[in-house]
Assembly symmetry: C2
Homo-oligomer: 194 residues x 2
């Protein structure tokens, strides 16, 4: 029998590229097949449907990234070190695979519905981290949900700015600036370099 794994990888790459460039709904199965260099029917040897492809592409990468963040948090002591490591990892991920990063950002709005609630989730990992920091008295801000949103915004908007050409890649050159800005944002009454 032939090995279909190479074909599946070609589908992955074509799908990520086209989904990010044109949007999921705007990308047809014909588009995908042409970009991957296969026939339309071949896609259905590997995925039950187009939706299944999107959901699988999202869920597997989303959960894997959440796992990486969780592992990372365990290797650091103290909230500030964990935060810095998390920002660094997110930015490194963006720079290493911007297309995948943007795909996850793009479809998280719609794809999250098809992902099981108990699956690992980068946002909930971050939320747990902030909650821990609040409990341990390591940050002044007490609303963990607000703190999570702040950190998320300080990371994702610079990434978005790169997409629009308002900021120049790589994102990693802002790692220290953003980690420090997160820290200050979370500590309303403390000196910035506490």
């Amino acid at each position: 029998m032939r090995d279909g794994r190479a074909t599946k990888l070609r589908i992955h790459q074509a799908a990520l590229t086209l989904f990010v460039a044109k949007g999921v709904t705007e990308t047809s199965v014909r588009d995908l097949a042409q970009a991957a260099g296969i026939a339309e029917g071949t896609l259905y040897r590997h995925y039950a449907s187009k939706d299944d492809l999107v959901a699988d592409l999202f869920a597997s990468n989303y959960a894997a990234f959440a796992d990486r963040l969780t592992t990372l948090g365990r290797q650091q002591a103290g909230f500030r070190a964990r935060l810095a490591a998390l920002v660094a990892e997110v930015f490194r991920f963006h720079d290493n695979n911007p297309t995948l990063f943007r795909f996850l950002l793009l479809v998280s709005h719609q794809a999250l519905a098809r992902v099981p609630d108990d699956a690992a989730n980068p946002v909930s990992v971050l939320h747990s981290l902030v909650e821990q920091g609040v409990q341990d008295g390591e940050i002044t801000l007490t609303d963990a949900a607000l703190g999570t949103a702040m950190i998320l915004g300080l990371m994702l908007q610079p990434a978005t700015a790169i997409v629009y050409g308002r900021l120049e890649a790589p994102l990693s050159r802002f790692t220290d600036d953003i980690a420090a800005a997160c820290w200050r944002a979370l500590n309303p009454t403390e000196a910035p370099h506490g």
Copy 2:
């Protein structure tokens, strides 16, 4: 002749609601007509195409909001006051018309292509504000584009968190917190309450 303006408003409302709830591409002209209580053909008495409806809905509201922000900035003296007024206005807009706010967020990725470059743009208004602050030495951070992204993130992610139910509305209750967080994020070496 009959007055079509009421019909046009019904189309606006139906379109905003459905576009936000299901997405633009996932909303058909049949969906729009049914929600607005009109026939499909009627929509084409008011818009040349579905794309035209989206573009008009986006461009008019996007530019109007940018103008409001510009006016607001002129009424304040000093960067910090301007920043606080801007955050307050953005959050007020979100609370007064969350559907319109989310629509502008949702389609800004794709709709910006059809909007003339010289049109007023909320992001460029913010960028000019930050640039002015840098020039006047009112903030420590020197990269205006990075500062713009930071402020944008600190405003938009809390708004997004409300959509997902991670944060409770209204957004306005965070106005002071976020304005202060923006200020601290932009001032790496300064005391937080300078």
